[in-house]
């Protein structure tokens, strides 16, 4: 299976453990990632906060380049990237907007390629296929699946899963032989890109998320977003200090769990590069 790949800035920056995990896990599943050449930043939070036109133009450029390179499917592991790409797809249904964006980005934006997040990628590969490829069922894992904001919202842009009570990630995790818990912070925000600029908010929200997962019996969290991972993993020590409690929750990327179930090691998947590595 050959698929277009748009890593985004985080995965080539401080969240490159996520990319390591993806590459290891997907190659074991025979999925070839065709990184699109010359991809640029999607604009992240800064663009949509400060410049509406730019927030459509930057992801539009990436969509156009992917389509130009012949990718019918484009995998974006960061939900902010994938959501922006989907926003462009919706916007260019209006021919006037499509023309304007194409002129701005100097490439033909057709908006035809399918955009996939990590969960959708695994669904594409097939849960039955995943199940049969499992070598080591993850019996010691009781995971709280954390979706964050942008995998399921805004629903009229991403059209993915039930935005109030999602369960797609749980289905993938269950196929790996692990247990999941029902908990109350599946789609509550972690503070997103405010890690540096408004740390207080991030610590407060991360504290609620990590605590609630533990209270509902989880021994780890699973995420499919690099920002969520940073706020819950890298910042976990700060949360523990701020709120005076031990949490010790390992935060896995979904691809980590898939890789482990396929028999790959923690080192291969980059799990040893997380900040919280043991409960």
């Amino acid at each position: 299976m050959n698929i277009g790949y748009y890593p985004g800035c985080a995965l080539h920056g401080s969240s490159n453990d996520y990319e390591q995990s993806l590459r290891a896990c997907l190659s074991a599943l025979d999925v070839q990632l065709g990184e699109i050449k010359d991809w640029i930043c999607c604009g992240a939070t800064a663009a949509h906060s400060l410049n509406h036109k730019l927030s459509l133009a930057l992801p539009a450029r990436n969509l156009a380049v992917a389509e130009r390179d012949g990718f019918k499917q484009l995998f974006a592991p960061c939900p902010l990237c994938s959501m922006q790409l989907l926003k462009v797809k919706r916007a260019v249904a209006d021919e006037r907007v499509r023309k304007e964006l194409s002129e701005i980005v100097e490439a033909d934006v057709r908006g035809e390629s399918e955009v996939l997040n990590l969960i959708q990628l695994f669904e594409n590969i097939g849960l039955e296929r995943l199940k049969s490829a499992v070598k080591t069922p993850l019996e010691s894992i009781t995971a709280a699946c954390y979706y964050g904001c942008l995998l399921t919202r805004p629903p009229d842009v991403v059209h993915f899963d039930d935005f109030e009570q999602p369960s797609s990630m749980e289905s993938v995790v269950a196929a790996l032989g692990a247990k999941t818990v029902e908990w109350n912070y599946k789609t509550e925000c972690c503070g997103a890109g405010m890690t540096m600029s408004n740390e207080d908010i991030v610590l407060e929200l991360a504290h609620k998320i990590l605590s609630n997962a533990a209270e509902h019996g989880a021994n780890c969290l699973v995420v499919a977003c690099p920002m969520c991972h940073v706020n819950l993993d890298m910042k976990q020590a700060a949360v523990e200090r701020r709120f005076g409690k031990k949490l010790g929750m390992v935060v896995y990327y979904l691809s980590d769990l898939v890789g482990l179930a396929l028999g790959l090691s923690a080192e291969q998947l980059g799990i040893n590069r997380h900040f919280v590595t043991k409960a």
Partner: protein
Amino acid sequence: MENQAVGQVASERLRVHFPDHIQVADCYQCGKCTAGCPVAIHMDVAPNQVVRLAQLGEWEKALRSRAIWECVGCQTCSTRCPKEVDCAGVMDALREASLARGMAAHERLPVVSFQEIFLENIRRNGRLNELELIGRFKMDVLVHTGRILFLFKDAGLAPKLGKRKKLHLSSGKASDRGVVDRIFERCSNGRKR
């Protein structure tokens, strides 16, 4: 009466034009946005009140609020709004206008600087250069607030990141940065920091 007339003229000058899909008149102030907002308790003006200010044409108050910068963009408000008002989109538009009109208080809100520096960074590099971002951001906060300690905040993280091979002294750059610069230019309306 006179004051009101002057206020109205000044307010008209500040009027924010929302994208077509946003109809603030539709909002009937039910407060569901405020109810679901993860950071509403920290805001000086609650989310429903921000929309109310827009309805009343109180642009000065809206654009100078801290609330629009406390917003984390989680989209919960827009998703649950019974009148399908894109409240998150209202926040975006007010942020854009606030900065463009020089009404965002950088000294009170480091996040304003952060977003600006982020954009400059990707304009220059095509992709984000994290070290550069962190460095410039900390300097900016120092300049605006005089908080020297902020320079060293989280400094302990640097070696930890380095040990985990997450720090990149040179980051990958997009090969065609020219097109990025031109895209920015076309979207700029002549604005530059």
